[in-house]
Amino acid sequence: MNEAPPLKLEAVACIRGGRLLFEGLDLVLGPGDAAIVTGANGVGKSSLIRLAAGLLRPAAGKVERNGGAGLADEAAALDPRQTLGRALAFWARIDGTDAAPGMAAMGVTHLAQVPVHMLSTGQRKRATLARVAASRARLWLLDEPSNGLDADGEERLAAAMAAHRAQGGAILAASHMALDLDGAATLGLA
């Protein structure tokens, strides 16, 4: 198994719209590690997730990923006219995996024939999490993963996250709500 840490942030600084959000941020997530980013709205939680995903470049410092990253944020990235099964199969094809285990883990298997634009907010959230669960990425980047989820959805999310960590994966989650992550470090942004 690859022992390099799935995510390593060294003295990372982030500037958005001319405003310094945070600087000197160090974080290492080894296999099985998890961290929850907390903080008020607009403090840079989502920016940190996007930095870790490589979508934003840090103003200073270094971001290092090993073993790929799966991102679940507010954008569903599913073609609205396609059925959920086909939309997720497209991403599974890009990832070289099978969409079915992720769909089963998040309890959306029965929605496979439903067009994406007919799904509710919570169902869409489950679908984006199912895509991350189906990918073989070692690092999960979850931006407000429990938004819109019901109790059953939160339970499934917790189980999926636990299974991922048990397999040596790492999780960086941004949330203003409590997440069921045993022994996760808390990273408070201010």
Binding site: L55, R57, L71, D73, E74, L78, I94
Partner: protein, 212 residues
């Protein structure tokens, strides 16, 4: 890459998106003889240029559905997170977009040329020009779509950006219909090749810049 290109083709076919430029192209070809009158020789002389104008304007129509929906829905972010470069994404989109635009336009050019009373050898040269020139037009549309993605009134701005840049294609495309000289075709191919080669990098940089 193949998955991306075929997705692009599927999106173009869904809901008749690819038909819109074709109908527009044929409509212009139908209206033009009404405007200049049923003078056969005159139509044959100016028809080729008019069809190139129509092709250029038809290329502008898909500009708002090529990049912006994928940017807004997070598809581009998801691809980038998977380590797929923006240049690769744009190149795949270019292949998919051209397949839904170039060959259908070449088919539509046959009835359009009949409406313009173009003789057979001119139609042949028009088709050859479209084969060489439509990749350039498709690339230009994609580049402008990436540059204007996420902007307000992107459609109007796209027209102002695309049409001047398409002038070389128009000049050499229409030019090669009227002359036996092969240099117009060579210059058309050069312009088209340049646009196809530059677009993945220019559009890729535009997509990255739009994230900041």
């Amino acid at each position: 890459m193949i998955a991306l290109a075929s997705r692009e083709l599927r999106l173009a076919m869904a809901g008749g998106n690819a038909l819109l430029p074709l109908i527009f192209f044929l409509l212009v070809a139908t209206l033009f003889p009404f405007a200049v009158g049923p003078d056969g020789p005159l139509l044959a002389r100016v028809g080729g240029g008019a069809l190139w104008m129509a092709a250029m304007l038809a290329a502008l129509l898909p500009v708002d559905r090529l990049i912006e929906p994928d940017r807004a829905s997070g598809v581009l972010d998801q691809l980038s997170t998977r380590g797929i470069g923006e240049e690769t994404v744009v190149a795949a989109k270019l292949v998919g977009h051209w397949l839904s635009f170039g060959p259908p336009l070449m088919l539509a050019a046959v009835p359009a040329a009949a409406l313009m009373r173009l003789p057979a050898e001119l139609l042949l040269r028009l088709e050859l020009g479209l084969l060489v020139g439509t990749p350039g037009l498709a690339a230009l549309t994609l580049m402008v779509a990436a540059l204007t993605a996420g902007l307000r009134s992107a459609g109007a701005l796209a027209g102002l950006l695309l049409l001047p840049l398409a002038v070389p294609i128009l000049i050499f495309g229409a030019g090669m219909i009227g002359s036996e000289n092969p240099s117009a075709l060579k210059l058309l191919a050069a312009v088209s090749l340049l646009l196809v080669a530059v677009t993945p990098f220019a559009a890729g940089a535009a997509i990255r810049a739009a994230r900041d």
